[in-house]
C-alpha cells in the first residue's frame, strides 16, 4: 500500500497543474451533490414543519354530505357524527386496530379571568385524555385531562404557558398556578396543568374535559370529528381497506349508503406521511441523479487525464514490464492514481459543500416568511448527514475506479517491446 501511494504521489507531483484542473471538475460535481441534497433536505424539512406535532398513526373522521339515495332518503343530506360513532371504534372489527379515540369541541370568544387579570377572546376546547398524545402536547407543569376528569365531569382546566406567563407576571414558575381557580365566562375551573403553547401562533387555547363542557353548555350528542390512534395498519392497502370498512360502518349507522364516499371523510396522517415520504424519496433520487450527472463531467475529465498519463508513461510501463511487472501491477498504478485524484478532490468538494450547507442553514434556514399569519421557514435544517457523506465517499471510489479502468486496461495491454521502442 505504501509503495503504491508513493508511486501515485510521484506521478501526481509531476503533473500538479493538470491534476488540479481535473480535480476541480470532480470537486465541483461532489459539491453540487452535497449542496443539492442539503437544499432538498431543507425543503422537505420546511414541508414537514409542524408535522411532528402530531402522532403519525392518527386518523380523523368527520361527517359530510350524502351523494346517494339510501333507505328511502334522498341524496344531499348532511351527516353529523355523534358520540355513538366513537363507541363504534371500540367494537369489532375496528377494536383490534384502534388505540385511543377522542373528539374535540372547540369554541372561541371566551374570556378567561384570574383574579383581576383577564384575557379576551380565547378558545375553549372540550377534549379527551388521548388528545395530548395524538397532538404531542407537552406538559410543563401538572397534568393533562385524565379519564377520571371525564367520568366525574370535573371542572378542571389546562392552560397554555403563554397565558400562565401573563398570569404570573412574566415568571415561569408555572407550578404556582396549579390548584388556582380561573373563570371561563361565568364558570370556575381549577388549573391542573400548564402545557407548552405554540409561540408562533400565540396559542392560548384552553383544554377542559369533554364531558364537563358537554354538561355545562348542554351540547347534544353530535360531534364535529373524531380522532383516533391506531396500530397494525402498516401498508397503504391495509389503511385503505380499514378506511373503507370504517366509512361503510359509520355511513350505515347514519342511514347513508355504505359506499357513499362523500357522506363521511377520513383524513389519515399515516398514509399522508407515507405519500410525503414517497415524494421525499423521489426528490432525493432526482437530486442524486442531477448531482451524479454533474459529477460525470469530472469523471470523464479524470478518465481523459489518465489516458494522457498512460500515453506519456508508455515507455516507463514498458520498462516495468520488461523487469517483471505483471499487467495487474500496472493496472493498480493507474486505478490507484485515478481513485486518489477523485477521492482527494471529491473530499475537498464535499467539505466545501457541507460548509455551504451550514452557511445556508445559518442564513436562509433561519429566515422565515409570513404565510396566513403563520411564520413559515423556507428551509429547515438544509444539511446532509453522515450517511450522505458515506454514500458520496462510496460514489467517489466507484467513480474513480471507473474513470481509471479504461486507461488502466490500456496501460496493462502495452506490449513491452513496443513501449521500449517509444522514446
Amino acid at each position: 500500500m505504501h509503495d503504491l501511494f508513493t508511486e501515485v504521489w510521484e506521478s501526481v507531483r509531476r503533473n500538479k497543474l493538470r491534476t488540479c484542473l481535473t480535480g476541480f471538475a470532480v470537486a465541483w460535481g461532489i459539491f453540487m451533490i452535497i449542496v443539492l441534497l442539503g437544499a432538498g433536505n431543507g425543503l422537505m424539512g420546511a414541508f414537514n414543519q409542524g408535522g411532528d406535532s402530531f402522532a403519525s398513526n392518527t386518523m380523523m373522521m368527520g361527517g359530510g354530505m350524502t351523494t346517494k339515495p339510501y333507505k328511502g332518503l334522498k341524496e344531499g343530506r348532511r351527516v353529523r357524527l355523534s358520540m355513538s360513532d366513537m363507541d363504534l371504534l371500540e367494537k369489532e372489527p375496528f377494536k383490534q386496530y384502534v388505540d385511543q379515540v377522542t373528539t374535540n369541541y372547540s369554541q372561541g370568544g371566551y374570556t378567561l379571568t384570574y383574579g383581576k387579570l383577564y384575557l379576551n377572546n380565547v378558545s375553549l376546547n372540550g377534549t379527551f385524555p388521548g388528545y395530548a398524545d395524538m397532538n404531542r402536547i407537552v406538559m410543563l407543569a401538572g397534568r393533562f385531562v385524565n379519564e377520571k376528569d371525564i367520568q366525574e365531569k370535573r371542572k378542571v382546566i389546562v392552560l397554555s404557558h403563554l397565558t400562565a406567563k401573563n398570569f404570573l407576571k412574566g415568571s415561569t414558575d408555572y407550578a404556582r398556578l396549579l390548584g388556582e381557580k380561573v373563570k371561563v365566562g361565568s364558570f370556575v375551573f381549577k388549573v391542573v396543568g400548564i402545557r407548552q403553547g405554540e409561540e408562533n401562533r400565540d396559542d392560548r387555547d384552553l383544554y377542559v374535559p369533554y364531558s364537563t363542557i358537554k354538561t355545562i353548555y348542554g351540547l347534544d350528542n353530535h360531534i364535529d370529528e373524531m380522532t383516533f390512534t391506531f396500530h397494525g395498519l402498516n401498508t397503504e392497502e391495509a389503511n385503505e381497506a380499514f378506511e373503507k370498512e370504517l366509512k361503510a360502518a359509520v355511513n350505515t349507522a347514519h342511514d347513508a349508503a355504505p359506499d357513499d364516499a362523500s357522506a363521511t371523510w377520513v383524513w389519515n396522517r399515516f398514509t399522508q406521511n407515507l405519500q410525503m415520504e414517497k415524494g421525499s424519496k423521489i426528490l432525493h433520487t432526482a437530486l442524486w441523479i442531477i448531482g451524479l450527472f454533474t459529477l460525470l463531467g469530472g469523471i470523464v475529465g479524470v478518465s481523459n487525464i489518465m489516458l494522457i498519463t498512460v500515453k506519456e508513461r508508455t515507455h516507463e510501463f514498458g520498462i516495468r514490464k520488461a523487469i517483471g511487472a505483471k499487467p495487474w501491477s500496472i493496472m493498480k498504478l493507474i486505478v490507484a492514481e485515478s481513485v486518489t485524484i477523485t477521492a482527494f478532490f471529491g473530499y475537498i468538494g464535499m467539505v466545501l459543500g457541507m460548509l455551504t450547507c451550514t452557511i445556508m442553514d445559518k442564513t436562509l434556514g433561519q429566515s422565515s416568511t409570513e404565510v396566513f399569519g403563520q411564520s413559515v421557514r423556507l428551509l429547515v435544517n438544509p444539511t446532509v448527514g453522515l450517511d450522505v457523506a458515506l454514500e458520496a465517499t462510496l460514489v467517489l471510489i466507484i467513480a474513480g475506479t471507473i474513470a481509471g479502468m479504461a486507461p488502466a486496461r490500456k496501460a496493462a495491454k502495452i506490449r513491452p517491446i513496443e513501449a521500449l521502442r517509444a522514446e
Binding site: 510521484e10 516507463e316 517491446i417
Partner: protein, 240 residues
C-alpha cells in the same frame, strides 16, 4: 541446453509484411558468454526480444531450461522476465523519476520483497558496482557508464540465470564500453550467469567467448572466440 531455438520464424505484419527471422536454430549452454552480431536489419534485436520474451514468434519452438516458451500469458511472461532473465539496454531504460537505488529495487518490488530488505539488497549491488555514493541520484545526474552500471545492477539483483544485453555499449564511449564489457565478462566468470550480448560492433563481440553471426534472419557463421582474437580491431580496445 539452457536456451534452444528450433526453426523460429517471425514476421512483422503490416502493409508490407516483413519476414525478419527465417528459421533460426540456436543453442546456448548454461554459463556461456556469447554475442549475436549482425548489421542493422539483420534481425538480431528481434531475436533478442524473443529470447527475452518481450515479443512473440510465429513459428518454431523456443525452450528455456526445457520449458517451451510459446503463447505465454502476460502473467507467466512477467514471471520469467522477473526471475529468469535480466535485461541491459542500449538506452539504459532507467526510470527517470526514480533514484538509482529505487531503479535497482524495482524488480524486487515486483517479486513482493519488503521495502527494507530490497533497499538493503539494492545498496549492496550498487556497492559492488562502485555506485554506492550515487544511490540517491537520479539517472539524469549520472554519466552513461554509471547509468549502464545501474541498469546492470538492476538486471542482476534478482539473480537471473540469463542476462540479455541489447547493444549495451551503444551509447557509451570506448573507454566506458571496455569497462562495461569487462564487467559483463567478470559476472559471467564469477556468477556463472549466461550472458547474451547483441551488438553490431566487432570489438564488443570480440569480448565474448562465442560469436553468433546473424544475417538476413538466418544464423550464419558461429565463431569460437576463447582467445578473443576474432576482430582485427578488437584485440586491444573497442573501436568507436
Amino acid at each position: 541446453m539452457q536456451i534452444e531455438l528450433n526453426n523460429v520464424h517471425k514476421t512483422y505484419e503490416g502493409a508490407q509484411p516483413l519476414h525478419v527471422l527465417k528459421g533460426v536454430n540456436l543453442s546456448i549452454e548454461k554459463g556461456e558468454f556469447v554475442s549475436i552480431m549482425g548489421a542493422s536489419g539483420s534481425g538480431k534485436s528481434t531475436l533478442l526480444n524473443i529470447l527475452g520474451i518481450l515479443d512473440n514468434y510465429d513459428e518454431g519452438e523456443y525452450y528455456v531450461d526445457g520449458h517451451l516458451i510459446k503463447n505465454l500469458s502476460e502473467r507467466a511472461a512477467a514471471r520469467y522476465r522477473n526471475k529468469t532473465i535480466g535485461f541491459v539496454f542500449q538506452s539504459f531504460n532507467l526510470i527517470s523519476f526514480k533514484t538509482a537505488v529505487e531503479n535497482v529495487e524495482l524488480p524486487l518490488f515486483y517479486q513482493g520483497v519488503g521495502r527494507k530488505r530490497r533497499h538493503e539488497m539494492a545498496m549492496e549491488y550498487l556497492d559492488r558496482l562502485g555506485l554506492k555514493d550515487w544511490a540517491g541520484h537520479y539517472p539524469n545526474e549520472m554519466s552513461g557508464g554509471q547509468k549502464q552500471r545501474v541498469a546492470i545492477a538492476r538486471a542482476l539483483i534478482t539473480h537471473p540465470q540469463i542476462i540479455l544485453a541489447d547493444e549495451p555499449t551503444g551509447a557509451l564511449d570506448s573507454k566506458t564500453s571496455v569497462e562495461v564489457m569487462d564487467l559483463l565478462g567478470q559476472l559471467n566468470r564469477e556468477e556463472k550467469v549466461t550472458i547474451i550480448v547483441v551488438t553490431h560492433e566487432s570489438g564488443v563481440a570480440n569480448c565474448t567467448n562465442r560469436i553468433i553471426h546473424i544475417k538476413d534472419g538466418i544464423i550464419g557463421e558461429i565463431e569460437e572466440n576463447r582467445e578473443h582474437k576474432a576482430s582485427v580491431f578488437g584485440t586491444e580496445t573497442i573501436m568507436k
